[in-house]
């Protein structure tokens, strides 16, 4: 199964990302070379996950685990199989948040096992307006709970135009992935989330204007 995932990502997903987005990466030196690490990115499209999965060297592919909403990505047998085995998601039961259940437990376990987890702190896809939504603090809790976890801020420019929320047909347009310097745990959630937000805004300022006017 791991081989199927590698083959799918290398032979299909990577060329697809190249054709429909160009898949430009700025700051690849900041990519983690091992887990545990969190990629914290803005979110406007499923193309975000495609770009993040295909920007890593092949030897790190087994470690890549996008954190994804269980209510969306595990809702049917087909999409569930694809999400688990090919995308390699770690499920987040976001509908159970606030019920007392520890919805971050699977993600925490993945990090402890040395995974590189993708987290979209906005919680859901935005409308590609290039604004950052309110950031949920799960990423801070994970950074605190698993010592040694680097949090890498990533700004993805343009993906919300290729395949926005609700669209079925992708339209090829160039995207750029900007990878910032790793953040480490600051000691408290508020200052950590502020640092993450500042880092994302700084990356956005560096991005080419691949956005709607």
């Amino acid at each position: 199964m791991a081989l199927i995932r590698i083959l799918f990502l290398m032979l299909f997903a990577r060329p697809l990302a190249r054709v429909i987005t160009g898949a430009d990466v700025i700051g690849a030196d900041n990519l983690p070379r091992a887990g545990p690490a969190i990629i914290a990115a803005n979110h406007n499209s499923h193309v975000d996950t495609l770009l993040l999965l295909t920007m890593f060297p092949v030897r790190l592919i087994p470690k890549l685990r996008p954190a994804a909403a269980a209510d969306y990505f595990l809702k049917g047998p087909m999409i569930g199989w694809f999400s688990r085995n090919v995308v390699g998601i770690v499920p987040v039961e976001r509908t159970k948040a606030g019920t007392g259940e520890d919805v971050l437990a699977p993600t925490r376990e993945a990090l402890k096992g040395g995974a590189i987890v993708f987290v979209f702190p906005e919680g859901t896809r935005g409308d590609a307006s290039d604004e950052i939504g309110e950031l949920k603090t799960g990423v801070a809790r994970l950074a605190h709970d698993v010592p040694g976890t680097n949090v890498i801020p990533v700004w993805i420019e343009g993906a919300g135009r290729v395949l926005p929320k609700g669209a079925r047909v992708p339209v090829p347009m160039n995207c750029t992935v900007l990878i910032g310097a790793p953040l480490t745990w600051t000691g408290d959630r508020i200052s950590f989330m502020l640092a993450l937000r500042e880092a994302l805004l700084a990356l956005r300022a560096e991005a080419p204007p691949q956005r709607w006017r």
Binding site: G22, V25, A128, V169, V171, P172, M173, P209, W212, R213
Partner: protein
């Protein structure tokens, strides 16, 4: 089976001697560049030579792609240039200010590319001539009007027009030359015409750059392209004119004053294409149109001169040598 029968079975035509020599010359230049990239870090260890190495490595990839297409025949050239048109148009439409409502028009603009190249491949030259400049020109603003968003309407229509004309229509002329029959271009065939266009255009880019770096002092248009100088332009013009004047007879069906007009016009067109795209990039606020080609930037950065030289080269040769109209 002999080699020639194998080649015949694969529809690979023998390469004209001039083209083979030309490709060998490019190969020699690439080897020279590679050696320089290896020697410079030893001779001048303090400077950073990453850019030269990247540029040379990218030239290798581009030369191999173009060379392979030219050897394989005009079908491969058409496919290669259609891909180049697609990437260039994608880069332009992604950076130019478009509105959220234009998303599906972007998709339609890409569909113009296969239609454009299919017309060329079918030798429907007359329809090709008007397909983008008339039909796409009229249909695009009509669709934009039907969408109903009038904010920035005119500049949006102009963006689609500009993108289709430069990235698709103008580049199409370069690809179409590959179909020129041997009767029209007996020197080195259609592949030789394409090769010489690309050689002259890229040599002009490099010569203007090198002359500018060596002796450039007087800025030629500081607001658009601050690194361009009169010395670079004139030095590049003389170099390209000389290259075309002396090598042209091996590739082109034009001689004498006709070759002189072509050799004089091409470096000016190359310069014009370069600074026009520079003005667009400066307007948008970017230095490169993407990062696809290490050391060069995007595809559009690489073909900016070609978007102007291709139609100039095509039409001057057609006017002088093909009896006012090309072959079909």
């Amino acid at each position: 089976m002999t080699l020639s029968s194998l080649l015949a079975a694969a529809h690979v035509r023998p390469i004209a001697p001039a083209l083979a020599w030309g490709m060998a010359g490019v190969l020699a230049l690439l080897l020279l560049g590679t050696l320089a990239g290896l020697a410079l870090p030893v001779l001048r260890p303090k400077d950073d030579h990453t850019n030269l190495r990247q540029r040379t490595a990218s030239w290798w990839v581009m030369a191999v792609l173009v060379g392979a297409a030219l050897v394989l025949g005009w079908g491969a050239v058409m496919i290669l240039f259609a891909v180049v048109s697609f990437i260039a148009l994608r880069e332009l439409l992604s950076l130019a200010p478009l509105r959220r409502e234009d998303r599906l028009v972007v998709l339609l603009a890409y569909l113009v590319i296969p239609a454009n190249y299919a017309l060329l491949a079918s030798n429907l030259y007359g329809i090709y001539l008007v397909f983008i400049p008339v039909w796409a020109f009229l249909v695009a603003p009509f669709i934009l009007a039907m969408i109903g968003q009038t904010r920035a309407y005119l500049s949006t229509a102009a963006t689609f027009h500009w993108g289709l004309m430069t990235c698709v229509y103008n580049i199409g002329f370069a690809a179409y030359l590959a179909m020129a029959p041997l009767t029209k271009a007996p020197q080195a065939g259609g592949a030789g015409l394409v090769f010489f266009l690309l050689l002259a255009t890229e040599a002009n880019d490099v010569a203007q750059y090198v002359w500018g770096r060596l002796v450039g002092r007087r800025k030629i248009m500081p607001k658009v392209s601050p690194n361009k100088t009169w010395e670079g332009f004139v030095g590049g013009w003389i170099t390209t004119f000389a290259l075309m004047w002396f090598l042209g007879p091996f590739f082109l069906p034009v001689r004498g004053y006709q070759l002189a007009v072509l050799a004089a016009a091409l470096p000016v067109a190359g310069f014009a294409g370069d600074v026009t795209m520079s003005a667009i990039k400066r307007d948008i606020g970017v230095k490169d149109t993407s990062r696809l080609i290490p050391g060069h930037g995007g595809v559009l950065d690489r073909i900016d001169s070609l978007t102007f030289t291709a139609p100039v080269y095509f039409h001057l040769i057609t006017f002088f040598a093909f009896g006012r109209l090309p072959w079909p």
